[in-house]
Symmetry: D2
Subunit: 306 residues, 4 copies
């Protein structure tokens, strides 16, 4: 117990050191910790209330935290709360705000003049539409084209701002003047959330299919903040969520055959589920099969039908 409390003190110190300190994100955004309640020890403490005297047998605290996370006993993780101050382009904020379990106070452009900054895209940052994933991007445009696009963006930002300012000068209400600001305009907010819901946010937004902009924020929050705030819970989250893989009923059948050396039978299961249909001599684009192939690659094992 003593040892655990010592760890906790180090933890709190680690987080206290960065309290209020802004982590830069994108060209002009940031994330900073305003305040927090609880940390690893609050998770243990809450679980112990549930378990009463029964907990003595669940020996170590780290084991307890790992057990809780592994078995999705989420309520003890709700006992930790963190409050962040973030500065984010509205475009990105539109995705962020979809997480409904947070407490939010956003900068009001009805009340105050809109923040005079919009996210600029550098010439080498323009991303191609992904061919495989309708919602994604893939690789970068060549810099010459990028330069042209960045130039035009800058002019658009300036024009939109000039028009905004002109409206204000003519007396137009702020709530209406703002209507044509670009989505890339920065906003700020206080954003407060418990650790259980934050993990859910991070799992969705640190994921590779998440849009790059929000992924950068999520990655900072995870790696720079939560890792310091609740190191044991963070480690467990990595092991059981971020680096875990879930296999469906069909995938398990295939995997079972692979684990018992029956490559042929593995392929048969895939065939029976219409995963290996061909068109023009090539495998058809069947999402479930492709996703399984990606899992094989991730694990470093050979795909049975190749």
């Amino acid at each position: 117990m003593q040892q655990f409390e010592d760890i906790q003190k180090q933890t709190v110190k680690a987080l206290d050191k960065i309290l209020g300190k802004p982590f830069k994100v994108l060209d002009d955004g940031f994330v900073r910790v305003i305040d927090y309640l609880g940390s690893d020890n609050a998770i243990v403490q809450a679980a112990r209330v549930s378990y009463g005297k029964g907990t003595k047998k669940i020996s170590a605290d780290r084991e307890l935290i790992r057990y809780l996370l592994r078995h999705r006993h989420t309520s003890p993780f709700e006992m930790c709360e963190i409050k962040l101050h973030v500065r984010v382009p509205m475009d990105c904020w539109r995705q962020w705000i979809r997480h409904r379990t947070a407490n939010v106070n956003e900068y009001s452009t009805r009340y105050s003049i809109a923040i005079d900054a919009a996210q600029n895209t550098k010439p080498d940052e323009w991303r191609f539409q992904s061919k495989g994933n309708r919602q994604g991007s893939d690789g970068f445009l060549e810099e010459k084209t990028g330069k042209m696009l960045s130039n035009k963006e800058e002019k658009l930002h300036n024009l939109a701002r000039d028009i905004y300012n002109e409206r204000l000068e003519l007396g137009v209400a702020r709530e209406q003047a703002r209507k044509d600001l670009p989505l890339a305009t920065y906003t700020e907010a206080y954003w407060k959330m418990d650790l259980s819901n934050l993990f859910h946010f991070l799992e969705l937004r640190m994921e590779k299919h998440s849009q790059k902009e929000i992924r950068e924020y999520a990655t900072i929050i995870g790696n720079k903040i939560v890792a310091k705030w609740c190191p044991m819970a963070w480690e467990a989250f990595q092991d059981y969520h971020m680096n875990s893989i879930t296999f469906s009923k069909v995938e398990l059948e295939i995997l079972k055959n692979m684990a018992t050396g029956k490559t042929k039978e593995a392929t048969q299961v895939a065939e029976q589920n219409n995963w290996l249909l061909q068109k023009d001599g090539k495998l058809k684009k069947i999402l479930e099969r492709i996703e399984f192939e990606e899992k094989c690659q991730q694990m470093g094992i050979a795909i049975p039908w190749f």
Copy 2:
């Protein structure tokens, strides 16, 4: 009971008639009902479960609904659910989405090309910044200035769209190309909510201090949809929420004196609470007093200190 069921049939018919029919809002927005679950009778039914056999004494259904709403027994109202399809400028949607209790599916501009429409402001629709209320607007700019502003707006919309289209043609990912669209760009969503939370939404958004754009949507939802869907609950909501007034501790003391003919004493209470401080021979701008004066006006009674 028979009578009530007959009313319900009429109600359902009234709502079924408008199912799927879009009500136009703003220049290019709309609201339409996709589906619903329950209506006035579901409120009564749920309350009756709570009350068990005890309800026989609460005679009429209308009385029961009114009683529940008056006493903030909100849970029976949660038993009604409605699903709307809305088309709204993103600027307005940013306010809308702050209501966290809804289920939402929004049009994805990562997945599909952004809707090619932005809310246009007509020359006579540009509103002045309110002097009294930092978050509000008040009156309209003269049409000559408005014309100029509308012209510039149109050009900005066109330019932003051209740039968006150029990006797409050059292969930029949709998720990135969209970043400089104006906030006024329309989006669409399915939006599902229970009646209790919808009342909360309407109370905040039909209110006069709410921004005009979202107020127009809320007003349509209230008057054209909820009024048809749950007419008894809607009537009670009008009587006990929309047209009610809440008086604070101090205001009640003043009111008590007014109701017993003691105008002088009423003024004294105001004085004791520093409501009547003067500056340069005029009453200072003290919000609580001003709000009370507005309530008096709303009720049609004289302000004691004038």
Copy 3:
């Protein structure tokens, strides 16, 4: 600002003094503060993010807090969070847990042996069923009867516990053995909530129609804890919620007539709304009228029709 920070330091000190200290409730229950995040200053801080530079004009912090609460700008109050440890009879906990916005870890009687305590009713504590209010109680049974009831209660508690213990000794699973414990058995929980939702809880549960048992817990939480934790917000909550009165459309019409000396007209409004129907020479029991009469009494003004 300095002054405000000084107040905050005092506040925090006031709450820190009672951190962990159990406040006794009922015969064997308690409430104690485990931890908290933010206080009055966090409300102000969050509101200032919303208002940006615009806030300079809203002079004092107390005024800002009062303004926010009066106008139901609830989000800044969500920026304060408190974690309590409570010990409550399960019967009372059944009402408590209906507040869905809390984070909860309850003592598990699947995992551990049930707490060996049930709430005992003293001979002078047995309450009569209210005649006027189907959900309420009113006055006390005479002590002789009370003594008999308390005796029988004690025997029932003992028998239920003996049976519980016998089951455990015979090896019955805890999750099943507990099934016949009396509802009055105590449970414990960590219960975490933001201030905005806590105010909602307190408004409903400190109210006179709330059941006495949960009312006692709510009253302790309000008067002994929140009053120390966020004194400015607590004061505003008293003035604008607990001690305020809301008048419906019809009540406002009556009140308007009373405030302008038109007692006769006030009575006429009541008549037009069927509030004054008679039966056997007495006013019928019409809830809306009775509630208005109670409001008059609360304000200390005469009822127009008496």
Copy 4:
């Protein structure tokens, strides 16, 4: 499309047939469908709003539903809503109500006399405390002991009810008289939830570690109701949730070795993670290893270290 609509019609018919029909659970409980909004087609419809014109390529509806569920795009599943009427012992309801996303109206024992029924345990239904799992049960007591326990239970139920009735007859308030009813007393409620949250409820409560009583309710809701209401979503839920397995980072490493025939290396990974520590010549009880062994058994593959 036509085909899909035909399927939908069949679906709706399948559910409409059981509308209002109680499914018996435990000795005196039930679940019945009161009403619902949407079904498989509402999920597709909502997803199509998100995807706009882009959806044409995601060919079949079934594929779309499976894709959404597999990738945890939960919001379209929130577009379906179901309202159940349930009768449940309070002991079981205490677990049920922990799911906070539902709308609930429970039978009020403040308002009405408590339902005169408590869940009776038959002589062959008394379960042993599990040795391996502190929160579980395992096997049954012999019937002779069970008979004795059931007898005592019946007497306790009768006594508790007699005392309850005596209190009521003496005029004690219902809200207080109920305080010593056994936890096994039945309650009833209307319970309304969207499909996404219902899946979460079912995943937790149909699981084998869930308590038998609530598991019986969940199983009925899943197999008898959701399977008829949203058959495609239900099928996907089975394949991707109920019958899926998630492997942690360490488990994946072991599995990779097994799938490539490296049994020795698989064991080494387990050793490096302290999974194979011994005590008195036997493997120590290390939860993570035991859970992995269970997964192997479930998949039908040999455990590498046995």
